[in-house]
Assembly symmetry: D2
Homo-oligomer: 511 residues x 4
């Protein structure tokens, strides 16, 4: 089914235990700052119900039932492209993290891993995953994925932590009908607006850590689950929020610290339970899917950032300065590259793990993610450079709305003739907001740190091809068997007349 | 027709006036250093005649005749992808600049510009271009394109130069059957092995410069054409060259300074003659095509560079060092990005100028070129860093072949057990060669400087879309009419309950 | 005299017109956020009165009176080094912008410019400046400098602005005893805690703009002066502020928009009045002094940033990871470079303008400023990378102090054994605070944008020396007269035996 | 004594075993390419004998004898500054590596290490070192230092190499009067023109590697020493060399591979013999001295590079283009920074190891080296970018001197009016030469790789100070005992009135 917005909103009034800025939240729908997350999340239900987007977001499952496309498994390059399209539309529309991103990517990764486990060690997880998928589809639930553990000391394995064994989410008891889990997942996006959370390991495991090889899904109001919401970027909301922090006050950090305080999970909702050899598969599959999401999310952000810089240049009267144009060109280029590389990553997917599920091309999708993560601070620097110091000293809503002050701001903060001062202030506030460190840190660490991409890139590069290219150049054996470099024709096929050794400028060659 | 290699080689013995290192070259096929260019160029005739590549490189023209694919006009995205494939194969096979690259791109640009001129000002150039194309196809000629003028003082327009008016190639006389041209084109690739040269303006023109708005084609042995070949990277050849400078000695700088010393061009070979308003079209079209070529050429180079760095790391015993892996991952990423962006530039082409000819997407193809041009020196730095100082102090062929010396080199220049010392030396020589400044400078300036790409990127970016993205974020009027941003749904569609103002952590909002 | 802290604090209760977040501020000393600025500013009075720092901060003027050292003119390299030492101590102690920085630098620049004007056009400004200086010394006043105008359209000169002529502060009337000024200065640091403001042009002027060539000083409670304080980084204060935003809540953005609403300035306080040719001198002198200040301010910031990253690495358990160490080494290097280049800029000062006043070396001091401005975002990226996502999702004071929540945070946000969780939280909050965009934008634009440093660097480089170095290498005439390159000995002084031309590896040279 | 140039040149005819490009060199003074090294090296004897430089380069030893200053030990900051001055003059004069650089730095490092060893383990090396120093002074010998071993597999310790134990220079026999050594040192600068070689370990050692903990000095014509000279940058010389490769043909790669084929060293010339604990001291001391040298060498190079780029901009007519100016400003800044940081490294030296010998400040000197090493490729990219493609396709001496060709080059390679074409060609050749990869690789690896500097920077940074800065900011215990941060005054010294909690814009703080 496809739920209405009203049904979705109503479903959040479910008794979940959630705190924000140290206060217990009675209802996420009415909390001053969290409610803006809910409004954005609700767009995931507006879109499928709207005629313009119905065909993109709604598909039919094998039972002929209308379901949310992001709750289906991607089986072809076309599916990945459509998934990408949904993500882009969602991110552009809401301006922030979509409700179904983490969760949908975790669900796809469950499918891949279940396939692999069933094939390799004879488990029957695929059936469980498909049953759970049908539940989600039938009830059209909002889902998030919880991957990152709190980790404790990064230099120690999960079972070797010194203070306590709960720095990574783990199985503390196996019972007849299910298991009991304990631990915490940190900075989990989209949590306040989700119905369900899908948990997955965030790293590879050795056998000693098998109790940490654990995947499952639960409703967020399950007893024992506690949600601690992240501080909002600013402690304001409503029109004031919209004016002062136009992006973040509308999308808010959606992250929560989720504590699992000895929570029971019935077996039908458990999708990995000690199979430590496959934590890697699950973590990698999730990463591949979620980096595709990252590129989609960033398209909207990068477009708004580049456009804001262009507007600031225009309003400041510096749009014809050479170095400003070069900076804008560079920003537009990065924006284009992220979009094109994200698309290319779908067009040439991999299906190594599962039989019938595809994942974005690893080299390409990690290139895309690394491109925006490594260049984001430079984007910010350029924006701040172009906008000028006013991007941090720009007056607030309360300044602007004070009739004693407004005339001075109106007069003195004008710039290019014909541009209302209020529009210039709005663009400056937008730049102040977008270059804040919430976005910066999210860009580095969201979808995995840069080191993670470097690891993927190193691990996924076709070193045989690359070394063959070098070896053929100097005829070191080994390239001949490469499917591309081994088949290239030799220049010896060209029969040339002997060299004329009479030129004075070049010595007779050594023999 | 498709010529044989022998026919091609024979055709170069045509009396052309060419010098190298100050000496007159009697025959390019037997000159110690130039002959290696000829061997590489000849691969453009080996490939179409070889069963493995016949289907890629040979097509039929409208008369049903077999012709070289690169002599046809690209009319679809598929044509661009096939053109790309030809370029990649040619560059990987020969290891250097293909014979038909500059020329084929100039020919395609002639087609675009003729289309535009005929449509806009009623000329009949298209017929001339097509006749010339048929001549090339029938005789299967090797072609190069000559774009860059010597330019004199860069701050002055062609007709405003102080010392003489010939810093840009120009029309000095219009006669009954043709025109007389004077000037010089500089660092023109693939010249020694070409049969024909296609000349085109390298910049936009004003009306004062109309005598410089000039495009034509001529055989390279036309009286009055003088070719001055560029210094080889090293003044060695044969086995010595192959060992010491394995890449450049086999491909050599193919560039020539071409002087047109009052040369007659018959009208059927003139494709622009004073139509100064269209110099821009021609220069831009050439640039778009040729930047696609640049990405193809670089794939082979970047693969060999990344592979050589990986081999050096392996042979030196440092392949497990973290910072080495990060550098290798980055190099593999750049290689991947150039390949994927080049492909993406074909998949989404533009056809704005001509009616039935397509060009690579400007944003994407300029992103691809800028990616390798701006990062190439970093690639070199990483290679040199990983290879160690030995990449510059590595012994030569003459050292290695001296039996008094070889045992010492054999013993002391070994490294990883199991890797023959000679292989390590070969990889070091390869790195020394590839990181030389010929490639560096070619990478910056070949296919246009970085400033040229920045200009294209600034000029081609969809500023309306980008500004609309920013404007929608802060509701500055103007985004509503944008085809993407104007159609996004509003969050006002979500009806939310009123905010609860009782939380102590957040002040009551300003109203 | 040297005032006590109490005298200073009392002096601020002077009826000044100041607003913050749209509200009129009754008393800056008791305003929730502004009061923290005042506390920091007061350290400028604690230090001279404290035995540890008395000798550094207090000197005697020519009348034998004890005065604040920063209110004296720097006449030697030693004076610049002592000034630097005062700035560094002030910045490290208070953690933010010192009270006497902008003002002291403006005062020094007034001295330089008065010297030059008096000498070149026979004015008597030096006497006025010295009288004003004595007033400041006698009353030991806190001063700020107001340089940056609001500027309007950056592409238009002051007198050519379209909307109104007041985008740059200007003389609107010249009366018998003084002048009337109108305009606004924007993002002026240290304003809320200062007694006096010293105004100076921020650009060069042509004759048309002579009404904008204007320097003067006034008490901040002068009728017609209105102060609009910048938004605090967060709208919190007290212990909560100290915990959540440990740096910025204690130092706050100190910037104000200062409006001069037809304000009268008596002539004895006017130090430039239409001498448009000397706006450049004044702007350049201020910039040179203030970039020295910038390097001092940054030492404390960069030390705390590098140290915080090192603590985060230690607490996270990643301090032995190679790439983390490289990042920390790089951060320590930038910190060292800024300190050493700042010192070097004092050791080799210039005195071109005034007779007896010195300024920091332009090349060196601009190198120092550019080093931190251009690398600051990279510093932030490294800090955020090392700290992890927790640097943005870290709980707040209100979370931590809630006894229902603290046990969960205590347990799950621990990391390295032995490090109290609260300390890890504190370091994460510190990193969150320091990498926020207030510091980023301040680092770019404070003391002038990067483009301004590039202009200085280009304008100050010794091109004659640099070109002579190149010319001597290839013997292009012109280097012979250079004092360094012209005096170097020639290698022709070495008489060598003739070359042996019998080696086979090298061809006989061309002659 | 101070030798004459003639005495020096005569001393090189000493029967040394040296090869170049596979040919045995009869006399280094007459070899076509090596002779240019000898000419440059001879400048180290021209300078002390010349009245302009006598006082700088000549000092008296304790016996009142005139000796070369670079053969004395640096005991004060002033000595380091004078040493720096000698190096700078030498490098600017000869345009390349000075004769006494490696050797003088090794000699100074011997002194430091002997001091430490004698003090810590009671050896008597200091006397030997001083005796050897006196020998050098009395005979005024040219010296080089040989540090870098060939190393074999970098992942294995010296004694654990698999193919043979000689990848690091080692003691193979201890006899009554001396030791026998075997191994090879690679890319040792200044070898062909030196009389003596001073050998030192290039790494730290464990006890297993004690046979590799070895320092000694020998004449280069000692039986068993074989010198294999590095390939010249180009195989040309004389006027042709000077025109085509104006820098490198005059200075040549001076590096040799030095093989020690079971060479006897008498004990009076042995300065470390198995004291493996002190290899680190020796390697670090050498590195500190030699990085100072590196900064001196680079001043001349960077000045010529920046100047050449400025001349190219001027000659090309692009010197007023904004982005060209920014690039030139940046190049001038890097040049300035290297000079100032090198000087600062002398002003604040360390003397931790020896009692009476000083070394450059480690943080500062490594910052200086890293600055040029990490930015050098960017310097090259800017030069190539500004110069244009002509910097690689520029004609050679043989082209220019051919009277059939010169008129065309004269005409077409002109640019800015008034600049002779030959001068433009010369600058282009200079840029082609300076941006070649010999300099690039030398800049990375000469004086130690960037990883080595990063290691030094990490190891030398004052982490206690840096962490104290951070800790004080958030009041984590530990900063109180720091000599700087622990002594700063507290803001609690300022007694402030209570906060006014009635402002509506800021919530009452949490308590």
């Amino acid at each position: 089914m496809i739920r209405t917005v009203e049904q979705y909103l109503e479903s959040l009034n479910d008794g979940r235990q959630i705190w924000c800025l140290g206060e217990k939240v009675a209802d996420v729908r009415t909390h001053p700052t969290l409610s803006s997350i809910i409004r954005t999340a609700a767009m995931d239900y507006v879109l499928p119900n709207h005629p313009d987007y119905h065909d993109l977001f709604v598909t039919k499952n094998e039972d002929g039932e209308e379901v949310h496309f992001l709750l289906t498994a991607p089986k072809t390059a076309q599916d990945l492209l459509r998934r990408r399209e949904c993500y882009i539309i969602g991110a552009r529309t809401g301006g922030g993290v979509a409700l179904h991103c983490m969760g949908a990517d975790a669900l796809a990764a469950f499918t891949v891993t279940a396939n692999v486990m069933d094939k390799e060690i004879g488990t029957h997880y695929s059936e469980r995953v498909e049953n759970y998928r049908k539940l989600l589809q039938r009830q059209d639930l909002g889902i998030t994925g919880a991957i990152t553990d709190v980790k404790g000391d990064r230099s120690l394995h999960p079972s070797k932590q010194k203070q306590h064994p709960d720095y990574y989410l783990r199985i503390v008891d196996q019972q007849k009908d299910g298991i009991v889990v304990r631990g915490a997942k940190v900075h989990i996006s989209s949590t306040p607006g989700s119905n369900e959370v899908l948990c997955s390991p965030c790293r590879t495991h050795g056998e000693d850590d098998k109790d940490y090889a654990l995947a499952f899904a639960l409703p967020l109001n399950t007893p024992g689950i506690k949600l601690f919401a992240v501080e909002p970027v600013q402690r304001i909301y409503g029109e004031e929020g919209k004016f002062d922090y136009p992006k973040t006050s509308q999308t808010q950090p959606t992250e929560c610290l989720i504590v699992f305080d000895d929570v029971f999970v019935p077996y039908e909702r458990v999708f990995m339970c000690g199979e430590w050899q496959f934590s890697r598969t699950l973590a990698y599959a999730f990463a591949s899917y979620h980096r595709l999401y990252g590129t989609c999310k960033m398209i909207g952000k990068l477009e708004a950032m580049t456009g804001a810089a262009a507007l600031a240049a225009e309003y400041n009267g510096i749009e014809n300065i050479t170095h400003v144009r070069k900076k804008l060109a560079w920003m537009a280029m990065i924006t284009q590259m992220v979009a094109e590389l994200g698309k290319a990553g779908c067009l040439d997917p991999v299906s190594e793990f599962g039989m019938d599920v595809v994942m974005p091309n690893r080299m390409t999708i990690n290139s895309a993610k690394f491109t925006f993560a490594s260049n984001f601070h430079q984007m910010c620097q350029h924006m701040q450079d172009i906008a000028g110091g006013l991007s941090t000293t720009i007056p607030t809503y309360r300044d602007w709305k004070n009739p004693d002050i407004q005339p001075y701001l109106e007069k003195y903060l004008g710039a290019k003739d014909g541009v209302p001062t209020e529009e210039r202030i709005k663009v400056m506030r937008l730049i102040k907001d977008m270059t804040g460190n919430f976005w910066q840190i999210d860009t580095i660490h969201g979808e995995g740190s840069m080191a993670a991409q470097e690891m993927f890139l190193y691990g996924s590069a076709d070193w045989d091809k690359l070394k063959s290219a070098a070896k053929r150049s100097v005829n070191i054996d080994g390239w001949q068997s490469h499917p591309i470099y081994g088949k290239l024709l030799s220049k010896d096929l060209v029969k040339m007349p002997p060299v004329d050794e009479s030129y004075r400028s070049i010595p007779v060659t050594a023999r």
